[in-house]
Every structure is written in structure tokens, then in C-alpha cells.
């Protein structure tokens, strides 16, 4: 326990000092690592801890992004005030999808697929409905002052992302120590046994999806405020779903630090492919190359190391998932 505390303290110190010592583009990379770890953790809570694998988590991300952006751009709301509303919207969508899916008794692969379908429905709607400006997307007017949830200096965006990541780690940590978290793990391991021991499986699943949706939506707003532009492809595209799933699985689904480790790994892959693209002229397109590696990683992890990279550290007291049980 002490070793963990020491490592955390060290990590915290390093991550706080980091942006003060490196050039801006590295600060942004660091920001993306923590941001991806944050939304990855939102997936991890439902998919890793509770075992409810979702393929369409981006639906919450996009809900958050569009809610805060529409409130801001169309109704003149201050983005900081719109943020909690966006989170509530994400939670509501999570609640709705959970109630519908679990009332119908959907589990496992069927649940994964229906979340994909929901994300697709939202994407198509966002593309066709006037109040989202359809395929044109929505632009947030650039006015980089903190009160507008916009920061001129990337260091502040970095610290905000770091803060979100830390909050998500604390939430996950709290799950490992609480009754709610223990119940989620029980549900993941064996739903019927959980039921027999007095757990209201339906209610707990709905709760976790609601929490997960709210968290992910918070990330959506953050993203919109950073890039000042969203469209249906960005907000509801399948790539983000894959990213959230991947960082959690690569790092270790159902562990506290899994998404963070996964996020570091994926960022490393990204940088390597970017370097590769710069030296090999044929590989002009970086993003597909990164995604190819992502796909290979997913296959390798599921096939060879289902408990993710965290399992390499072999900590039997930390709840590991049991993807191969």
C-alpha cells in the first residue's frame, strides 16, 4: 500500500511539473493522454468493472459535446454552466439505454451491438436535425478567456485534463472500495449468483451506465471547448468508441490505472506511426496506420493478454477482471 502511495505521489509530481519543462506540442500530447484516459475510464467503469461491454460509448461523448455546444452557441449559455447540464444529458442517455436494454434482458454481445446502433441513430439524427446544424457541424466562437472555458495557453488545458483524469482515477478507486463497486464486479463475474445474493442486478447496471454516461459526456464538452468545432462524425463517430474501449482493454479492463496505461500506450503508438510516416514516404496517411496498429493490438490483447497490461504487474489484491474465466 505504501509503495502505491509513493508511486502515485511521484507520478503526480512528475505530471504537474511536466508541462513547465517541455515545448507546447508535447504539452498537448500529454493533455490528450490524460483526456483519453478520462473518457477511457468512463468506459472502464461500465465495461471493465461491471462487465457491460459497450461498442457505442461515443453516444455519451457526442451527447455531452452537442448539449454544451448548443446551449452555448444557440442559447448564449456560459460553457461552465452548460457543462453540468451536458453531464446530466449524458447520464440521462445512459439511463435510457440501460433501462431499455436491460429490461429486454440484453447481455454480452447483444448489448454491445445495441449500443453501436444507438450511437449510429444519434449520429444520423445529428446529421439531419436543424438544431445541430446537420452535417455542417457547429463552431464555437474563439474567445480564449477562462470564463469562456477556453484557454490561450495549452498548459491550462493540460492541467484541466489532468484534473479530470485524477477525478476519474479517484472514482475508480472508490469503486474498488465500495459496496457499489463490489456489486458491479459480482455482476460481471456471475449475474445469477449476484442475484441470488440479494443484488438488484438491473438497478445496479442502470446506475453504472448512468454514471458512465455522465462522465463520458463531460469529456465531450471538454473536447468541444478545446477544438471549438464538432460535427456528427466527430461527436458520434465509431472511432472514439473504439478508442475508449481500446485504452481500457489494453491497459487492463476493470483496473484503476488500466485506461491511463492504455492511453500512454496508444499515444506511444501514435507517435511511432507519425515518425514512421515521416520517414517512409509511401505512408502518407498517419491516422489509418495508427488504427491498423490499434486493431492488431486489440486482437493481441484479447487473444494473448485479456487482462491487459496491468496484469503484467501481477497485483492479486487489486481486482482483476476475468475475461478468460
Amino acid at each position: 500500500m505504501n509503495r502505491t502511495a509513493l508511486l502515485c505521489g511521484l507520478g503526480l509530481a512528475v505530471t504537474i511539473a511536466y508541462p513547465l519543462l517541455v515545448p507546447n506540442y508535447l504539452v498537448t500530447i500529454g493533455m490528450l493522454v490524460f483526456f483519453t484516459a478520462f473518457i477511457g475510464q468512463s468506459w472502464n467503469i461500465a465495461g471493465g468493472f461491471a462487465g457491460q461491454t459497450s461498442f457505442g460509448h461515443v453516444v455519451f461523448f457526442g451527447t455531452g459535446a452537442y448539449t454544451s455546444t448548443i446551449l452555448q452557441v444557440t442559447y448564449g449559455w456560459n460553457p461552465w454552466l452548460a457543462w453540468p447540464v451536458a453531464m446530466a444529458a449524458g447520464g440521462a442517455v445512459g439511463w435510457m439505454i440501460a433501462v431499455l436494454s436491460f429490461r429486454a434482458g440484453l447481455r454480452g454481445s447483444y448489448f454491445a451491438l445495441i449500443t453501436l446502433a444507438f450511437a449510429e441513430v444519434f449520429r444520423i439524427l445529428a446529421n439531419s436535425v436543424p438544431f445541430t446544424k446537420g452535417g455542417l457541424g457547429m463552431l464555437i466562437k474563439a474567445d480564449p478567456r477562462p470564463i469562456n472555458f477556453q484557454f490561450k495557453d495549452p498548459i491550462w488545458v493540460y492541467y484541466l485534463a489532468l484534473l479530470l483524469c485524477i477525478v476519474s482515477l479517484l472514482i475508480a478507486w472508490q469503486l474498488t472500495r465500495s459496496r457499489f463497486g463490489a456489486r458491479l464486479v459480482a455482476i460481471r463475474e456471475n449475474e445469477d449468483a449476484a442475484r441470488a445474493l440479494g443484488i438488484d442486478v438491473f438497478a445496479e447496471k442502470v446506475k453504472v451506465l448512468t454514471l458512465s454516461g455522465a462522465m463520458c459526456a463531460a469529456g465531450g464538452t471538454f473536447y468541444a471547448q478545446k477544438y471549438l468545432y464538432i460535427d456528427p462524425g466527430i461527436a458520434f463517430g465509431v472511432d472514439k468508441s473504439v478508442e475508449m474501449l481500446l485504452v481500457s482493454m489494453v491497459g487492463g479492463a476493470g483496473t484503476i490505472f488500466g485506461p491511463l496505461i492504455g492511453s500512454f500506450t496508444l499515444m506511444g503508438i501514435n507517435e511511432v506511426t507519425r515518425w514512421l510516416a515521416s520517414v517512409v514516404p509511401a505512408l502518407k496517411n498517419v491516422q489509418p496506420l495508427s488504427l491498423v496498429v490499434y486493431g492488431v493490438m486489440l486482437i493481441l490483447i484479447v487473444a494473448r493478454l485479456p487482462d491487459g497490461l496491468m496484469s503484467l504487474f501481477r497485483r492479486p489484491t487489486i481486482k482483476a477482471n476475468s475475461r478468460h474465466a
Binding site: 454480452g108 444520423i124 465509431v238 489509418p288
Partner: protein
């Protein structure tokens, strides 16, 4: 828009498209029925097959219909090997695991296609593409009708194969009772590989039938996968009759959806059907167990 002429054209076009969807869905439902795998890579593999048809036409000048035997054989081989090397090894454990592996596979295929083929839309220009057949008040492209007919013939052929041939019987045995099949001496792993191969072969056939009137881009896989899943879920996982009926229903839905709601919004019909079926009748029209 409710002009009966438009409606008729919409329904007929949808029927024709549906005929090819049936072929795609049959492959998927076969793979599920025998291996109990939800083959998430189905759409991406179709996209790959379509590119194969395209490049055969572009580089060697083979008409897509003429290329059918070769493409089907090649697709079967590809699927067989893919099963042996990758999917077969991890066919055990939680069902979500194989779903994740096929998800990874689809990501790899989609993006390799993007890298090598570029993002451009590719089409084939066949000399008879401009020929139209008049049915009632509707003008239907000849290639679509040929494809429809070919699809029906191929489905019937597959059905015959499954019913009469030794391998077909073995496949049906394994689908119904895996352990029992093992006990009577059927090489179950081989049946799995063959079944997966046949499923992909169906995609090869569908690719040949689609390319004369359709287009392909690397993102086609993503578009097809939800359609394929919706058909199979609608019809019932593992049911051929379901795949057939589902294919036509979805074809018509897509066509009419596009007619009434426009190209973009029309696509929503498929996702909504998928959601509604899963929520209300997950076993589908003809399925037995969810």
C-alpha cells in the same frame, strides 16, 4: 412522393437490393449458426471482396459476373485460412472475446484498405449498366435484375449443398449438436473452418453482384455491417429462412426510407429496426434461442 409509380419503383428497387443482402446475411447467419460467432468483420470482408472485384476488372478487364467463380473460390480460401490462423484459435471463452477479435479484424481491414486503396470511391463501368428494364411504371437497371437472379440461384445452390452434400450434412449436424457431431467422428474444427469459408464465399459472390451497380470505398464495410446484423437479427440468428425474409424486408425498408426521408435520414430506419428487434423480439422472426 406517395405517387404509386415512385412507390412501386422504390419497392422493386428495394427488393432487388434485398436479394443481394440475403446473400450477405446468409453468410453471417451461417457463421453464427455453426460457430456461434458474431462475425463483426463481415462488412469489412465484403468491402475487401468488392475491391478485389474492382481490381480484377481494372487490371485484368474481367467482367464482375464472369469473375464470380474465381472470386467465390478466392473468398472461400481466404475465409478458411482466416479461420485457421486467427479466429479458430480464440473461438473459446466469453462470446464477447470473439466479438472483440472480429472487431479488431474489421478495424485492421478497414484501415489497411484506406492505406492501400485511398479514400476515393471506386465504381465499375460495365457496358450494360445503362440498360433499363421496364416493369409496370418502374425502370429498373438490368444489372440489378441480373444480380438479383444470380443471388437467388446462388442461395438455392447453397441450400441444396447444405441439404444434400456430405459436408452440408456435417455442417448442419455441428450447428445443431456440437458434441454429438464430435462423437460420431465429424472433424468439427474442419467444419468450423469450412463454414467460415462458405460465409466469406457468400461475401465474394455478393461483391461480384454488387459492383456493377454499386460503389466501394474503405468505409463501405462499416455501412454494410449494421445492415447485415440487422437482417440476421430480424430474421433470427442462425435461420436461413430468416436471413432471406429479413434481407428483402431490409432492402425495401432502406429503399423506401431513402425515398421518404432522404438519403441521409433514410439510413436511420435500419438502425431503428435493429434496436426495436433486440428490445422487443431478440430471437427475430424465425430464431429459436436468443
Amino acid at each position: 412522393m406517395l405517387d404509386p409509380a415512385f412507390l412501386l419503383a422504390g419497392v422493386l428497387n428495394g427488393l432487388l437490393a434485398g436479394g443481394i443482402y440475403v446473400l450477405v446475411a446468409v453468410g453471417l447467419t451461417l457463421i453464427y449458426g455453426v460457430l456461434h460467432i458474431i462475425n463483426f468483420a463481415h462488412g469489412s470482408l465484403l468491402m475487401l471482396a468488392m475491391y478485389a472485384v474492382f481490381y480484377l476488372w481494372r487490371l485484368i478487364g474481367i467482367d464482375p459476373y464472369a469473375a464470380l467463380p474465381a472470386v467465390v473460390a478466392g473468398a472461400f480460401g481466404f475465409g478458411f485460412v482466416l479461420y485457421r490462423l486467427l479466429i479458430g484459435r480464440y473461438n473459446h471463452g466469453r462470446d464477447e472475446n470473439i466479438l472483440l477479435i472480429t472487431l479488431g479484424l474489421s478495424i485492421v481491414i478497414d484501415n489497411i484498405a484506406l492505406l492501400f486503396f485511398g479514400g476515393d470511391t471506386q465504381t465499375i463501368d460495365v457496358p450494360y449498366a445503362g440498360t433499363f428494364v421496364e416493369i409496370g411504371a418502374a425502370f429498373l437497371p438490368l444489372p440489378k435484375i441480373i444480380s438479383f437472379g444470380a443471388s437467388l440461384v446462388l442461395c438455392a445452390a447453397l441450400g441444396l449443398y447444405m441439404a444434400k452434400s456430405d459436408m452440408g450434412k456435417a455442417i448442419r449436424a455441428v450447428a445443431r449438436e456440437r458434441q454429438g457431431a464430435r462423437l460420431v467422428g465429424i472433424d468439427v474444427e474442419n467444419v468450423f473452418a469450412v463454414s467460415y469459408g462458405i460465409g466469406i464465399a457468400c461475401l465474394g459472390a455478393a461483391a461480384c453482384l454488387l459492383m456493377p451497380t454499386y460503389y466501394v470505398t474503405p468505409s463501405s464495410g462499416h455501412a454494410f455491417v449494421l445492415v447485415a446484423f440487422t437482417i440476421v437479427v430480424l430474421g433470427g440468428m442462425g435461420s436461413f429462412a430468416g436471413a432471406a425474409v429479413g434481407g428483402f424486408i431490409i432492402g425495401i425498408t432502406e429503399s423506401l426510407g431513402g425515398l421518404f426521408l432522404g438519403e441521409q435520414l433514410g439510413q436511420i430506419g435500419i438502425s431503428l429496426i435493429f434496436i426495436l428487434i433486440l428490445l422487443l423480439k431478440p430471437t427475430g422472426l424465425f430464431g429459436s434461442k436468443a
